[in-house]
Symmetry: C2
Subunit: 291 residues, 2 copies
């Protein structure tokens, strides 16, 4: 049962299925289907910004999920997005959830796309933030100068580095980044273990595999018929916005919302707008994505 | 004074300034600044969809404007966007309007950009639908096959041709096109003269001039600091969506909203969503475009 409606205080729970144990948090409630939230590269339950999760939890239950090998979930981190999708589906099966909405951010957006293809009935509506289709370009190339300069900067610790990577260099974006870090730091107890280099290596392998297109590029997107909301910052250096352009040009039923002055973390920078738009999108019963 | 709040029934009015007379309609009211609406290639006051203008008129006065040489406005159609912008500014001066919001569709969106550069204080917020920046690509090339097949089809009359040009070939988009035509046809009296080949020739010349970039492409957009909402259909054949990508990548403060299954007339196809989004955008007092 939900004891609190914030990711600042929601307890981490464990679900045992077959040979695995998955860590998750669930909180909130309302008339909507549950919203499964799938996380970014190296991210844990603690990386979900309460300014994003908590307003969404006022209209539905929000379920945050640690994939295999992340946080307190057991097992090995898969080296393919398909492997991660299989774990996420096994988790939903273990919960007894046969249909939900999904918010996939970055790597989590790739996992959401794969799940929608592997089990089309599982999702009613799909939100894809800062992510890329299979066959996308320039996905998480951490050695390129715009990213490496932050990753190699010894003066940055974990959250400070995240503020550099997820936000642009503009004063307004960096201020939003500091506010984002402050919100993550509100949670003081029951924290996930921080992801290490083994997690990074497996997930980078998954990005490289995801960049390879089998056959005509983006054709596989046409089978994802659910209404989709695609969100991206126009200056995203981690997964450039061109990937979101390809998503909405090829998904048959997707709206694109692109934010200015922002990078990979545009949904955190403009959390008031994002949660308003996402709530309207999730609250719609139209067969069409526009809301 | 406003006698009705619909473009189906609002009377056409004439404003005399210096050497010109401009035709316009104004209707509606509310707390917002007036919304100046700038029209597309060959479009007159009668081409404004009441499903778009009327909901917007419930929160502010909507002002529809025939540029020089269009409808019942006197003078020659300028062969440059800058010439059209000068007329629109002269019209606002004649009305005594020193500050308003603007909705520029297609050619009208180019005029709005030029006005914002020529007189930065004139607009508070800017909506650019189905348009392109100076130096944009593939702007209204009517001889390309995807457009020429409709323009050369003798079985199509004016509004039926518009439904082919503004909407995609999908059944849902064509159905929306028929509904759009039906809404335009509701107005039976006090109609504008239909634009002819002289109008087309001058406006096409303006498109060709607008495609030419002087200096580094898109740099001029950085001076348009107002919050902007950019809207485009993902399958726009008249002014491809790549132009809207360039707009939001270079305007410092612009949100992009891209609609699926739709072409040049995406704002008419998804008029319920568009007017909801536009009303929220126009209703915001934030210095940032996200709403």
């Amino acid at each position: 049962m939900t004891t609190t409606a914030s990711n600042t205080t929601a307890p981490t729970q464990l679900l045992r299925v077959k040979n695995a144990t998955y860590a998750y948090r669930r909180f909130g409630g309302g008339p909507g289907l549950p919203l499964l939230c799938l996380q970014h590269f190296m991210g844990t339950l603690d990386n979900w910004d309460p300014a994003v999760t908590d307003p969404l939890a006022s209209g539905r239950e929000v379920i945050l999920f640690d994939n295999a090998g992340i946080g307190k979930s057991t097992g090995e981190v898969p080296t393919t997005v398909a492997g991660m999708a299989a774990h996420a589906l096994a988790f939903l099966d273990g919960l007894g959830s046969t249909r939900c909405d999904v918010l996939g951010f970055s790597l989590g957006g790739m996992v959401a796309q794969q799940m929608a293809q592997d089990r089309p009935a599982i999702f009613r509506r799909i939100i894809l933030a800062g992510t890329a289709p299979r066959g996308g370009e320039d996905i998480m190339h951490l050695h390129k100068p715009s990213l490496a300069r932050h990753l190699a900067d010894p003066s940055l610790d974990g959250y400070a580095r995240l503020a550099k990577l997820f936000f642009t260099s503009s004063p307004s974006s960096q201020a939003a980044g500091q506010a984002f870090v402050g919100r993550l730091e509100r949670r003081k107890e029951d924290l996930d273990p921080v992801s290490g280099q083994a997690v990074a290596a497996a997930q980078i392998a998954a990005f490289r595999e995801w960049e390879r297109s089998s056959g005509a590029p983006f054709v596989d997107l046409r089978s994802i018929e659910q209404p989709a909301l695609v969100v991206n910052g126009v200056h995203d250096e981690m997964i450039p916005i061109s990937n979101s352009y390809r998503l909405v040009e090829n998904l048959p039923n997707a709206v694109l919302l692109a934010y200015p002055d922002s990078g990979h973390g545009s949904l955190f920078q403009f959390h008031e707008s994002f949660t308003r738009q996402a709530s309207a999108f999730l609250g719609s019963d139209s067969p069409f994505a526009p809301y």
